[in-house]
């Protein structure tokens, strides 16, 4: 018996699976996925075997770079990214926290020099027992990921 897909298959593009329920919309917003007029199917609160419910995103004609995939780890540490060609999965990878994140967030410290100089913001990523912290390369202050308004 053919298994019924919960969300319609795509021909070319990227499928992000195993997103914790509730994070799917944030990911769409954070990566500006809806800005390009691409066809996107989103599944929210889907049953996932005996695991907690998950979100899922399918984006047509868009290939996620490894850098983007690793940034995903901030929202969805157990997500998988599937690259699709002609309805087949041609590449599948689990996300991994990057060592550094550049350009993505502004430093929450308003007195950090990175705000008024010609440099990219830059954070060193540290993870300890599932608690992820970003340490600013310049001001050396560490922040929990929930302090970044970009992640809300």
């Amino acid at each position: 018996m053919k298994k019924q897909l919960q969300v319609e298959a795509i021909q070319h593009g990227t499928v992000i699976d195993h997103i914790p329920a509730g994070q799917g919309i944030k990911i769409l917003k954070f990566f500006h996925l809806a800005d390009d007029n691409k066809r996107i199917t989103v599944g929210l609160n889907l049953p996932s075997g005996n695991r907690p419910n998950k979100d899922l995103i399918k984006i047509e004609d868009t290939t996620f770079s490894e850098e983007q995939a690793n940034q995903l780890a901030l929202f969805a540490p157990n997500a998988t990214v599937n690259l699709i060609n002609e309805f087949d999965v041609v590449k599948k990878f689990k996300v991994a926290l990057p060592e550094q994140i550049t350009r993505v967030f502004a430093c929450p410290n308003s007195n950090c020099i990175s705000h008024n100089e010609p440099v990219d913001s830059r954070f060193h990523v540290r993870s300890n027992d599932g608690d992820t912290k970003l340490k600013c390369h310049y001001c050396e202050k560490s922040y929990s990921t929930n302090l970044f308004s970009e992640l809300d």
């Binding site: 410290n109 007195n111 950090c112 020099i113 990175s114 008024n116 100089e117 010609p118 440099v119 300890n128 600013c136 390369h137 310049y138 001001c139 050396e140 202050k141 560490s142």
Partner: protein, 310 residues
């Protein structure tokens, strides 16, 4: 023979290895024993204070002059084009580094020295960036400890006063934790060591205890590192109450270890009474003088190859 600090930037204590810290304190000792008035002859060092700090600036500039170098620079940010015309720090640094052989800087914003090191063609020495780092203070503290104890290894060190906001305490614990020292934190609850730093110490397996007074600690330690409790952080009654429990006077020093030394980054207000000055334990004025030797050592190491790795 090259030393590992030659042409390096000195931005943050966390960038320095145990061996590099040892090299700096040993070099400071050598220069204190045997002055090197010609070492930086014909070299120009820029002294860039984007924020005023008279004590630090005089110490740095003395260090350059004692090594025979010349100083260019400015004592506060008000008169520079950075302040007046809106030039970026990155541009200022490119220009200044093209005039000089090294430069040290103080800046009111955190991360300024790291940024400068990315745009400078010569070594940058951080003389304080906002509330972040002040590595040369830590190096002169380390030198004073090494000089009085003969080693940095396995010492009992007590920190007293404002441990919450005191960046000198934070950096010094970071550095001493590389040498297996044990810490005793003596502070009012409102000014206790921040949790994230205690967590870091636990992760590194560093032993520490916390206390609300000198009792039971002062006779155990090799170093008593005093800091100033800042009045503006409390209302008057609270301040008087807190202050009275963290004042060191000569009578408290009866029965302490004979090798005990009292350090303080200065300026002191009244947390060390003046009767302590005459005891053999007082070392804070010599510690301030050591700032010049520690800074000479850094300049010598980043600008010349005279002092190789031990």
């Amino acid at each position: 023979m090259t030393n590992p600090l030659y042409q390096k930037h000195i931005v943050s204590i966390a960038d320095l290895s145990r061996a590099e810290l040892e090299l700096i304190v040993e070099t400071a000792g050598k220069i204190k024993d045997q002055p090197r008035p010609e070492l930086l002859k014909n070299k120009v060092v820029a002294s860039c204070f984007f924020e005023a700090s008279t004590r630090t600036r005089l110490s740095f500039e003395t260090a350059v002059q004692r090594l025979g170098g010349s100083v260019i620079g400015f004592p506060d940010g008000g008169n520079t084009s950075l302040g007046q015309k809106g030039e970026t720090l990155a541009d200022s640094v490119k220009i200044i580094s093209s005039y000089s052989d090294a430069f040290f800087m103080r800046h009111p914003q955190e991360g300024a020295a790291r940024l400068a090191s990315e745009f400078s063609s010569v070594p940058v020495i951080n003389g304080g960036d906002g509330s972040n780092q002040h590595p040369t203070q830590t190096l002169l503290d380390l030198f004073s400890i090494y000089e009085t104890q003969g080693s940095l290894e396995g010492l009992q060190v007590a920190f007293v006063g404002d441990l919450k906001y005191g960046r000198t305490v934070h950096s010094l614990t970071q550095a001493l934790s590389l040498f297996g020292c044990e810490f005793h934190f003596i502070a009012p609850k409102a000014l206790a060591m921040p949790d994230y730093l205690l967590e870091e110490l636990r992760e590194k397996g560093v032993k520490y205890t916390e206390h609300d007074g000198f009792d039971g600690v002062i006779d155990q330690v090799d170093i008593l590192y005093m800091t100033r409790v800042q009045k503006e952080r409390f209302d008057e009654t609270e301040y008087q109450h807190i202050k009275s429990s963290f004042i060191l006077s000569a009578d408290l020093l009866e029965g302490v270890k004979s090798n005990l030394k009292v350090l303080h980054p200065l300026p002191r207000v009244d947390e060390i009474t003046t009767d302590v000055d005459a005891t053999p334990y007082a070392y804070y004025f010599e510690q301030a003088r050591n700032g010049v030797f520690a800074r000479q050592a850094l300049l010598a190491l980043v600008m010349t190859n005279e002092f190789g790795a031990a």
